[in-house]
């Protein structure tokens, strides 16, 4: 048994209470411990990704119980990729939170941060649907704390809505789990695939109901159309580093849909195979529309970015809902891209907002380093809107190319291209108001620009994330090659089932 697989879950789970109990009065120590934990997580994630790159599916049996009875963690290319993405994002966000002092504005930032990482990594690694629920709750309860971190009226109110929404979602998740267990007698994703494939017709309707319930739950996490309304308020009111970290949380929903609907309810399984195309695709198209019009209508910077995140989730889910290896390759590329693009926008916006003291989209006198922030915002915005030369353009191109089926093409192309156009217009307007109109106004007398300049550490995270987008564009060929293998592995249901259930390789 190799214990590397469980480390991304165990390590943050150990760091979090140490930081919470031992270092709660000393922010310096807490910062050191938190950075150490996150960098170690990145190292482990890199190692795991290297292991998974061989194409093998590693299975970690907790307590060494065989799969359908015991709990398993599964490391394949997809989960390794998602954990790695989480770790890289976490390092970037953590540097930003420390450099700008966000972590000191409320209690227990680092503890909650580590618990959040534990929940996210656990959700990506688990091979058991009840454990997926448990890890969802772990990451959610940490995110409740992070959401209202630093307090304030609007933030707490938005946080309350976020909590209520997610608790209702959790209840729905449990109803789905109960139905699934009642009809299949198992909660292991691979075992469920085996059972559902041979389910008698009279039980099939029940499985279908459970699959739809599960899809609604994951759609809540992924902020898809009818249940997307929590996202703009939450992301716009959370503190910026938290919103940047939350960029991965919507991807947990996308990951869960991808995983469950390829393995358990996937193609070839009659009761549930048509669900994704019937429900997911229209929802994704409508999500793009909501996001794009939200960007156009937003009057504050943070909601503007939140709506653009919504639009990117719609684009991502449109590709996911096609459920073909090509579309999944495109979806994964866009998933990596949109995570960094969203994080980058939130981090840049935080630097801008901190200098303007509010995030309203109206001109105020130019702040220090106006040109630099304008450039950063420009870079992040073209990343998010999907313009060349950054990776968003390639991601959207791949998605458009993958969605060539006659039934899908018209809607998908119109929504993605139209959505991109509206997003560009929205960002261009916001940027010109924020940065260009500002220079036309006279500089205020009281503010001393020198003191409020951003230091190298404050700028680094935003620049690194733009760098990641550029890197993703430059390395598009090897990356998409890797993702192609990943997509093929996801659709290799037999391989997954043998690895988890059979006497396959013990990781």
């Amino acid at each position: 048994m190799m214990h590397w697989i469980i480390l991304p879950v165990v390590m943050p789970a150990l760091f979090a209470p140490i930081i919470g109990f031992v270092m709660r009065h000393d922010i310096g120590l807490a910062r050191i411990a938190s950075v150490t934990g996150t960098v170690l997580l990145l190292a482990v994630a890199l190692f795991n990704a290297g292991m998974a790159a061989t194409g093998e599916t590693f299975v970690y049996r907790l307590g060494d119980w065989p799969a359908p009875f015991g709990i398993v963690l599964v490391l394949d290319r997809l989960s390794a990729l998602m954990v790695l993405l989480t770790a890289v994002l976490a390092v970037i966000v953590l540097i930003h939170a420390i450099a700008t002092g966000w972590d000191a504005r409320g209690k227990h930032f680092h503890t909650l941060f580590q618990f959040q990482l534990m929940g996210i990594c656990g959700a990506f690694l688990t091979g058991d649907i009840f454990n997926l629920f448990v890890f969802f709750e772990v990451l959610l309860i940490a995110s409740y704390g992070l959401m209202i971190h630093a307090g304030g009226r609007d933030r707490v109110r938005a946080g309350l809505q976020y909590v209520v929404m997610n608790l209702a979602g959790s209840t729905l998740f449990l109803f789905a789990l109960g139905t699934l267990y009642a009809s299949t007698g198992t909660l292991n994703i691979a075992d469920m695939a085996r059972v559902i494939a041979t389910i008698p017709a009279e039980e099939a309707a029940l499985v279908r109901v459970a699959a739809i319930l599960l899809m609604i739950v994951f759609a809540v996490k992924a902020a898809l159309f009818p249940v997307q309304f929590w996202l703009p308020a939450t992301y716009a009111n959370a503190s910026a580093p938290v919103a940047a970290l939350f960029a991965i949380m919507t991807k947990v929903g996308a990951y869960a849909i991808l995983r469950v609907h390829t393995i358990s309810f996937g193609p070839g399984i009659t009761p549930t195979e048509d669900l994704a195309a019937t429900w997911l695709f229209p929802a994704a198209i409508l999500t793009i529309a909501v996001g794009a019009f939200g960007v156009l209508g937003a009057r504050r910077l943070m909601p503007l970015i939140a709506f653009s995140v919504l639009g990117s989730m719609g684009t991502l889910m449109a590709a996911v809902s096609a459920f073909s290896p090509e579309a999944t390759t495109a979806a994964l590329y866009y998933l990596v891209h949109s995570t960094f693009a969203a994080a980058c926008l939130f981090l840049v916006a935080d630097l801008v907002v901190a200098r303007r003291n509010n995030d309203a989209l109206r001109p105020v006198p130019a702040t220090a380093q106006n040109g630099l922030f304008a450039a950063l915002f420009f870079g992040a915005a073209i990343g998010m809107a999907g313009m060349p030369p950054l990776s968003g353009f390639l991601g959207k191109l791949l998605i458009l190319d993958a969605l060539r089926e006659p039934g899908l093409m018209g809607w998908a192309w119109a929504a993605i291209l139209g959505g991109s156009l509206l997003t560009i217009v929205g960002f261009a307007r916001a940027g010109s108001v924020l940065f260009w109109s500002s220079t036309a106004l006279e500089a205020p007398l009281a503010a001393s620009p020198e003191t409020r300049k951003a230091g190298a550490w404050e700028l680094a995270p935003a620049m690194i994330s733009i760098g990641m987008l550029a890197l993703l564009a430059i390395l598009a060929l090897p990356v998409s090659g890797y993702l192609e293998d990943t997509a093929l592995q996801i659709f290799d249901r037999a391989g997954y089932m043998t690895a988890v259930l059979g006497t396959g390789t013990e990781g």
Binding site: F130, V134, E137, I141, Y144, G145, I148, G151, G152, R153, D154, V156, R157, G159, L160, Q161, V163, V164, L167, A168, S170, T171, L174, F175, L177, G178, T179, Y181, A182, L187, A233, R299, R300, M302, P303, V353, N357, N358, D359, A360, L361, R362
Partner: protein, 117 residues
């Protein structure tokens, strides 16, 4: 027994959803509590209903036993919903004291152009 259990789950769920839609903090918390009771009973039922049977194999008696897994699941679900309710109460209180209103929905000023950081 099936009838009683099914209607109990139904009534609890209906009450929970109704209270959730009241959009005021205290009813919403109660509503979520009702929903979590409903879901706990529901998970119990997912292991099939049985009377007078232990959830473990008896070494001495005949080998008739009820499914132990739903009981483990319910235990986890109860613990989680308990913790979540506590968090929700705390956040609800904080929101009430900050905003001096117990409404959960978005207020009129939410999209005001001034914005508050």
């Amino acid at each position: 027994m099936e009838m009683i259990l099914a209607s109990a789950i139904g009534v609890l769920t209906a009450a929970g959803v109704y209270l959730l839609l009241r959009l005021r903090t205290f009813p919403v918390i109660l509503g979520l509590a009702f929903l979590s009771y409903a879901v706990n009973v529901f998970i119990f039922a997912s292991g099939r209903l049985a009377i007078d049977q232990s959830p473990i194999l008896s070494r001495y008696g005949e080998a008739s036993y009820t499914d132990p897994l739903p009981q483990a699941l319910v235990l986890t679900a109860i613990v989680i919903s308990f913790g979540m309710t506590a968090v929700l109460v705390m956040i609800g209180l904080a929101a009430y004291f900050e905003a001096e209103s117990d409404r959960v929905d978005i207020d009129q000023n939410d999209d005001r152009a001034e914005g508050g950081k």
